[in-house]
Amino acid sequence: MFEFKLPSLGADMEEGKLLEWLVRPGDSVGKGQVVAVVDTSKAAVDVEIWHKGTVHALLVRPGERIPVGTVLATLLEPGEMAPAAPQAQKPAASTARKRISPAARRRAEALGVDSVALIGTGADGAVTLADVERAAAAGPAAAPAVPAGQARRPVPAADRQAETRRAIGAAMSRSKREIPHYYLLETIPLAHAQQWLAEVNKGRPIAARMLLAVLQIKAVARAVKKYPEMNGYFRDDGFEPVDAAHVGVAISLRQGGLIAPAVHDAERKPLEQLMRELADLVKRTRAGSLRSSELTDATITLTNLGEQGVEAVVGVIHPPQVALVGFGLAAPRPWVEDGELCVMPTVTASLAADHRVSDGHRGALFLAELRELLQQPQDL
């Protein structure tokens, strides 16, 4: 028998609200299978399990708010028999059916609201009349975004915003408090990269076009392979380098705030695949359906504020990571090449890195590597 606990889905997460079980007692689960959906302060997240087994008992009911580390379920090891006397736990049957008050169920039918998809604010997480009416008023898209909290709060969206802001604030405060940042800037010429992109994108519809952002992700992933002190986690016992490069990509949310889910193993994936994954990630982030591993696995973060027109972004490291790379606006700028002034598309790349793990010298070499990688896009 082993326990499945609520993982921390980010440094800023202290608790979550179980929204839904995707398994029932008796179900077999495989490694990496999504078994539950948990509402963090930022988004609804699919939580995966990393241990093969059979679900024995679900210990937390949808709607319950639980701290990180709470045992959500017990599972049997492969081949293990269930104990003879069933454990006196909360009846698992309660998970079989979503709690929707009779009045809410009927009103939802009348209003055409999918009551099962709503997050309940009633006792034991039950969906109430007010939840249904709020969802109906907000329109179908907003329905699942009804937040945790109390029934009488009038503007739920504001709640989530405040919650998101609070969570980001906590993480960034911790970062600034604990991580001795140093910052470096490097201007990178993009003539080759843009030329290559223009060729690759020739004849493609706009939606399918390769983006500079993808080249940046891949370049960062390749650069950290050479400078591993930029890639990994700083924990109690010091720096833990990670072999794979899971590049967290900062994505802003419609309601405010941001999330930086990971593109896994970015150094090994071809650009076309990265392209598809990035598009999917953006879509799922904004729909609030990320997987837990995407929230927790990033080994370095990449933020790109070029679209907003800024020259450069000097970022704050996302703990427990040790580095963050920022890109500003890619645009034609005056440039001196071979002693002559010309016009060159350039971008300012920045590095914010953890002085406990690396020094400016290594950081400078890392940025130089990044610059070189972006000069040979065909090799990325």
């Binding site: 008050s101 009779p102 009045a103 809410a104 169920r105 009927r106 604010t121 009633g122 006792a123 039950a126 109430t128 009349l129 007010a130 109390q150 029934a151 009488r152």
Partner: protein, 323 residues
């Protein structure tokens, strides 16, 4: 006019004795002693021992005699000291008073009023503190009333005496000293429940000694912005299912407060009616605040812990509203 519950009940009895010569009062110590709760003090001198009859301690006998006198054309008002003692008379109430009309194919009528004190809260321990209204409310053939206000104490006796069938009136012993303004129009029916406080978010059903607790809880919750409706059942049999359902249809949530023990309580019946009549109106499970399942203990702190209290009602309302 401000008066006590005791005075209101006394005024009602006085009026009944004055209006109808067939009316007489009998029970233990109603005459020379002046009534256990001093409701009938002075009546003996005014109406004489024929109509204000002290009885021996023989509940079965004198309640049964009340049934017989009612059959024989009188309008007896029988006082039983407490509901615990009424168990000695239960046979005559259940096996005679409630059944005679039906068993006789409608030939007989028992226009009897039985009054008794009920309830705890005075450290009288287990044999003087129980609430068994639900036992009586279980029996077809009798009407069960629970006046909880000055108005009802004044007004319920007249229609009870006018009822051709037996009526049992429960007077919560803690209410006798309650003082309030007697409404100008205290005349009332003995059929409908009464909304004592209108509200939108949750219906609290209470009666007898619990009504004032429910109203107090509603006041406390109002200060926090929770809008509670308080419904006084008043008539415990037959239940006014219509008023109960209408309130739940409005608020979608219900808490039932009952000084009886939870198992097999009248509160259980009210909840059953709510679920039967307005299941699809419910926006939260119905909650009950009842006495703990223990005979009422003597020690004050244990007695308080055993009974429904304002704080328990407030907590129950919060739980159904999830606030």
């Amino acid at each position: 006019m401000k008066m006590s519950y005791r005075e209101a009940m006394r005024a009602a009895l006085h009026e009944a004795l004055e209006r109808d010569p067939r009316v007489f009062l009998m029970g233990e110590d109603v005459g020379r002693y002046g009534g256990t709760y001093a409701v009938s003090r002075g009546f003996l001198e005014e109406f004489g021992p024929e109509r204000i009859r002290d009885t021996p301690l023989s509940e079965l006998g004198f309640v049964g005699a009340g049934v017989g006198a009612a059959l024989g054309g009188m309008r007896p008002i029988v006082e039983v000291m407490t509901v615990n003692f009424s168990l000695l008379a239960l046979d005559q109430i259940v096996n005679s008073a409630a059944l005679l009309r039906h068993m006789s194919g409608g030939q007989l009528s028992v226009p009897l009023v039985v009054r008794m004190a009920t309830g705890a809260g005075r450290q009288l321990a287990a044999q003087h503190s129980h609430s068994l209204e639900n036992w009586y409310a279980h029996i077809p053939g009798i009407r069960v009333l629970a006046p909880a206000t000055i108005g009802d104490a004044r007004g319920m006796l007249r229609p009870a005496l006018a009822d051709p069938d037996p009526v049992v009136i429960f007077e919560h012993a803690q209410l006798y000293n309650l003082e309030a303004e007697l409404p100008d129009d205290w005349r009332c029916d003995i059929a409908r429940a009464a909304i004592r406080r209108a509200g939108a978010q949750v219906s609290v059903f209470a009666w007898a000694g619990c009504l004032s607790k429910a109203l107090q809880a509603a006041d406390e919750l109002a200060a926090e912005g929770v809008d509670v409706e308080v419904v006084d059942l008043r008539v415990l049999r037959p239940l006014d299912a219509e008023t109960i359902a209408a309130s739940v249809r409005k608020t979608h949530r219900a808490v039932v407060v009952d000084e009886c023990w939870k198992s097999g309580s009248l509160a259980a019946e009210v909840v059953a009616r709510i679920v039967e009549d307005c299941f699809y109106e419910l926006d939260a499970p119905v909650a009950r605040v009842c006495s703990e399942e223990v005979p009422i203990p003597y020690a004050r702190h244990l007695e308080e812990a055993a009974l429904p209290q304002v704080s328990k009602i407030v907590a129950a309302v919060r739980s159904v509203l999830n606030v």
